[in-house]
């Protein structure tokens, strides 16, 4: 099907909206009425038709506007995209993975023509046509990672694998849930997750790392993560926290349905062929509570999850102060009826 791309903003006047189709395919992350950390990994080999899991790199109605927002972030702060010198090869791996995947999965939107190392890339939604020599940086306007991730929704962490660990040695990070690439670049898996409460003690990261180190080429994996964001603000960076933090205090009982968003990350993990590194795309989906409760099962369940989530987690995820407002609002959509297992609407 052809996608109708929205013309919308993720800042200032916040004209972001989800169509009915986008609401229906939203990756609701709770498979039961409560939430605790787990290594909730599964294979990333497609999913139901039309779902966000169907393609390797989901392209949706927000594509063009998200890429404009990314460009604005990078204009203000080029440190959101960094690559340590040994990561260029992994950048080419990533460029190839995305170009091949998108041209195969969305042939009406993207084309890739290859003649040896002479490549011709056509990105119709963004109006880009680029002839370049694969593995020759001088033939692209940016480094390979930056070039392709300026054209792909989601943040990207490029990971080097050595010493039985994964090292975040490059990335494009403009839609993050409050972590800094500039600070975390060069850290290993345990170090960059250090601030996450509880999960270390639960052994989550040890098990997750073991799983990730064993991911083979062509066998990507995925999981969901979530948090809460006031306003459809993609760039909830620590860098700009002193600018956006005050927005968190603008919720009222009247506007909470429109202004409070559930923020879900689809995290996927792909092995890269030449560098033997990994890419860790982190794709952000936003939905207002008002839109979310149009799916009755999701309204009921989100109420129960937010109400019962441990205080430490609500603090870490940054919504502890707004929790009473959110729970009050959601309670109106919870009639106490049982919910069915799994994430899908009834």
């Amino acid at each position: 099907m052809t996608i109708q791309f929205n013309d919308e903003t993720f800042r200032d006047d916040y004209t972001f909206t989800n169509s009915e189709r986008a609401i229906k395919r939203f990756p609701f992350p709770f498979h039961e009425d409560s939430y605790m950390y787990s290594v909730n990994m599964e294979q990333h080999q497609g999913g139901p038709e039309g779902s966000i899991y169907e393609k390797r790199f989901d392209v949706d109605e927000h594509y063009i506007s998200e890429m404009k927002d990314r460009a604005l972030v990078l204009d203000e702060d080029p440190l959101r995209c960094q690559s340590l010198p040994h990561m260029t090869l992994a950048g080419w791996d990533l460029l190839e993975l995305i170009m091949v995947s998108k041209s195969e999965d969305y042939p009406d939107l993207f084309e890739l023509h290859r003649d040896g190392n002479n490549w011709h890339w056509i990105n119709k939604p963004l109006g880009i046509e680029q002839k370049f020599v694969f593995m020759d940086e001088s033939t692209l306007p940016y480094g390979p990672m930056e070039y392709i991730t300026r054209q792909t929704q989601g943040d990207f962490a490029l990971l080097d694998q050595r010493d039985e660990n994964l090292w975040m040695d490059a990335g494009m990070v403009t839609t993050q849930a409050d972590w800094s690439l500039d600070f975390d670049i060069g850290m290993n898996f345990f170090e960059w997750h250090a601030p996450v409460p509880k999960a270390h003690e639960m052994g989550i990261f040890k098990r997750a790392l073991k799983f990730l180190l064993n991911i083979q080429q062509g066998m990507p994996a995925r999981r969901l993560n979530w948090t809460m964001t006031v306003n459809p603000l993609l760039d909830t960076s620590p860098e700009n926290y002193h600018k956006w933090g005050a927005q968190k205090t603008t919720l009222t009982p009247e506007n909470v349905g429109q202004k409070q968003y559930l923020r879900v990350e689809l995290q996927t993990f792909f092995r890269l062929p030449r560098s033997n590194g990994m890419v860790f795309p982190i794709r952000c989906y936003l939905i207002s509570l008002e839109d979310l409760v149009t799916i009755p099962k999701w309204g009921r369940r989100l109420h129960r999850v937010i109400r019962d989530v441990p205080e430490e987690l609500a603090t870490y995820k940054g919504f502890i102060d707004n929790r009473p407002l959110i729970v009050d609002y959601l309670s109106k959509f919870d009639d106490g009826a049982p919910t069915s297992d799994g994430v899908w609407p009834d």
Binding site: L79, S180, D182, F183, D184, I185, G186, M187, F190, E191, W192, H193, A194, P195, H200, P238, E239, N240, Y241, H242, K243, W244, G245, A246, K248, T249, D321
Partner: protein, 202 residues
């Protein structure tokens, strides 16, 4: 008393040990302020070490004679400098000439240890050849996550960024690459509501 036992913290926060003599032809010792005491203890454990030891030392402003005492134990080379940052070009030159098997000993404040560690690893010295021991002040080297400026010798939480002036709280999240802890705006959600400053670990 120059030793301080840091409470358990998150996994990115460095932990320090106690310097132990290692066998090797060359020993590079870098210390500031009360870090000198860790070097005295080290040399006491193996008096033969000092003849092959090069020391770089940065006394505190109120130095009570550590520099003199270091001279008295007769290292093969002793450099006493006004500040670590002034000595970085010298350190880089020394590391450039380092031979295989060089043992590195870092002692003193976290800022000194972190920065010297970063120089040493960048120069290709393996982690396993570098030992650290914290002595003296618990002051931290902090990076402002907003303006990226470094504020040295932070002893309170919150503190004021010496570059952009924001009031920052002190996190335990630590970057070895930057050799600094992370400082984040403390009154972002309620501008002007800055909690009173408390001394670190008080």
């Amino acid at each position: 008393m120059s030793t301080f036992k840091f409470p358990p913290s998150i996994t990115s926060r460095p932990v320090y040990g106690t310097l132990e003599p290692r066998s090797g032809k060359h020993h590079l010792m870098i210390a500031d302020a009360e870090g000198a005491e860790a070097l005295f203890d080290l040399v006491e454990k193996d008096p033969d070490l000092i003849a092959h030891a090069q020391i770089m030392y940065f006394p505190a402003a109120d130095d009570t004679g550590y520099a003199e005492k270091l001279k008295a134990i007769s290292p093969s080379k002793l450099y006493v400098g006004p500040s670590y940052s002034a000595a970085v070009p010298r350190l880089r030159r020394i590391l450039q000439d380092a031979h295989m098997g060089l043992q590195v000993y870092l002692a003193g404040t976290e800022g000194l240890i972190g920065q010297a560690m970063s120089e040493a690893t960048n120069a290709g010295i393996p982690h396993t050849a570098i030992q650290t021991e914290h002595r003296g002040s618990v002051a931290r080297r902090m990076q402002c996550v907003h303006c990226k400026g470094i504020t040295e010798n932070v002893v309170t939480d919150p503190f004021t960024c010496s570059h952009c002036g924001l009031n920052l709280f002190v996190r335990d999240h630590y970057s070895r690459r930057i050799a600094a802890f992370q400082g984040v705006c403390v009154d972002a959600e309620d501008p002007g509501n800055v909690p009173p400053k408390r001394e670190l670990y008080s």
